[in-house]
Amino acid sequence: MAALLSIENLDKRYAGGLHALKSVDLAIERGEIFALLGPNGAGKTTLINVICGIVTPSSGRVLVDGHDTVRDFRITRRHTGLVPQELYTDMFETVWDTVSFSRGLFGLKPDPAHIERVLRDLSLWEKRDNAIMTLSGGMKRRVLIAKALAHEPKLLFLDEPTAGVDVELRRDMWRLIEKLRETGVTIVLTTHYIEEAERMADRVGVIRRGEIIVVDETASLMKKLGRKHLSLHLQETMTKLPASLDDWSLTLAEGGRRLDYSFAAEEEHACVPALLKRLQAEGIEFTNLNTRQSTLEEIFVELVHEEEDQQVEETS
């Protein structure tokens, strides 16, 4: 089946000259949770805004369920929901009115039962008659999500949905995202909490300076780009490593009491057993060993910095 969202050669250059998106190609499959990661100003929000029709692309095209977002905007927007990064709300409206307004805005008949379901799912039902200005920041965030769900979108964009919310609300959001996925909603989220992407996303894309630099399944990305760290606590202190261990990039730490080995996650099976055998052959004994895998956050930071380093090299 064709991707639900297909972005082809998308380019956006603002009037001020900022080249926010550079030939972006991306496909989002139906029912998946896709995390778009990138440092501030990387182009995440611009990309989402172009897809949702808030920003006009300079060139390229975006298809939602095979329909062009410019030519067939009525179809594509009808099926797309957006929760913006900032808490943009009508302060004087009640929760019920603003969510009902959103449904009508997207051309749907009133459906009080659906609105009630959404408000209950987001723990907003008790607050339905409250003016939005009386709600806490976390509650306002929920209202924005309720507004985005009022028209039952197939494709939902969550632009940093958990920014500035407490732990409890963040967990509620995670549960909600899982629940939405179960109902078949495709979710694209941007987040600064990389652990969130690691926990939720089926696939991850990293955008930097308007370019998508990597897209992969979360697990596969961690395997391909992640590193594992093996630490061996030695029985006897070492001052120098024997030459027979030169094939492994080992380092001595804690004054020769610990041997550290860092390797690509996907090479695990090939190199660790061989190293342990060689250590045994050299008579190097250890009392304990620890392994640790790099987090998605470390991979992300490395990816972003790698690109920066490359650019510095290119310009110097």
Binding site: Y14, A15, N49, C52, G53, I54, V55, T56, D65, H67, D72, F73, R74, I75, R77, R78, H79, T80, L82, P84, E86, Y88, T89, D90, M91, F92, D97, F101, S102, G104, L105, F106, G107, L108, K109, K147
Partner: protein, 258 residues
């Protein structure tokens, strides 16, 4: 998947939202223009009016009614339409309108329609209030109403353009306060331009408000400063100009989309 050619429900939602804002602040919305108009009637109609006498055989108190109605309709149309579109831009909630399956034309229709509705309602309330102070017979009530709706529509379109153009609250007030209000006061609201010296009569003919007020007065009393056809042409021209600017906004998303 198919979608309707129009999203009238979406436009209707925006219209209702704007009217709800009007209802929420109903007393403020009504009190200011009504109080101002009552003061005009007291000062110009009752205190000064009897000393001025009749104009074109029309009692002065009655003579100023069409102009006073339009004074409110001009300012309310401009303010409501400019504020209506500026507020979502200012608060950021415009994101939802822009990401909805609502065309820019439907968006304009909704905001301009709501602003025009409010001004027409206020105009009619002022007309009803005026009946308490002066004897007034509207000569062509249906055409008066049609003309009132056209004026409200024209100035609401202008207000929408101001709301799109404005980048701050000061800018929202700039044109209504510094351009439209002076032109209105000099546009024959309180007098017939025949009462002015000849030079000022000629100068007044460059004021578009003169034509609009004159046309409205015609539908009350059957006479005006200029021919009713000239008034209709002037109003039509103003609507055409506003529509041309709005169609540019619709086509390009000027100051709505980046």
């Amino acid at each position: 998947m198919s979608a309707p050619m129009l999203n009238l429900r979406g436009a209707w939602s925006i219209y209702r939202f704007e009217m709800a804002r009007f209802k929420r602040t109903l007393w403020q919305s009504l009190a200011t223009p009504i109080l101002t108009t009552v003061l005009y009637f007291i000062v110009f109609g009752s205190a000064i009016g009897p000393r001025i006498g009749d104009i074109d055989a029309i009692n002065y108190g009655a003579f100023i009614v069409p102009g006073l109605i339009l004074l409110t309709v001009f300012t309310q149309s401009l303010n409501n339409a400019s504020f209506g579109i500026y507020m979502p831009k200012f608060s950021g909630t415009i994101y939802e309108i822009l990401s909805a399956p609502v065309s820019t034309a439907e968006l304009v229709l909704a905001y301009v329609g709501a602003a025009a509705t409010k001004s027409v309602l206020l105009g009619l309330i002022i007309l009803a209030t005026a009946q308490l102070f002066v004897d007034l017979n509207v000569g062509h009530p249906v055409w008066m109403l049609v003309y009132l709706v056209m004026v409200a529509f024209a100035f609401s379109l202008a207000g929408f353009i101001i709301g799109i153009w404005a980048e701050g609250f000061e800018a929202l007030q700039f044109i209504p306060m510094l351009v439209v209000t002076p032109l209105t006061f000099l546009g024959g609201v309180f007098y017939s331009i025949d009462m002015l010296p000849e030079t000022w009569q000629t100068v007044s003919l460059f004021n578009p408000i003169v034509y609009i007020v004159s046309g409205f007065r015609y539908f009350f009393f059957g006479s005006g400063d200029v021919s009713v056809w000239v008034s209709l042409a002037a109003l039509g021209g103003f609507i055409g100009l506003c529509l041309a600017i709005v169609s540019y906004i619709v086509r390009t998303g000027h100051k709505l989309k980046s």
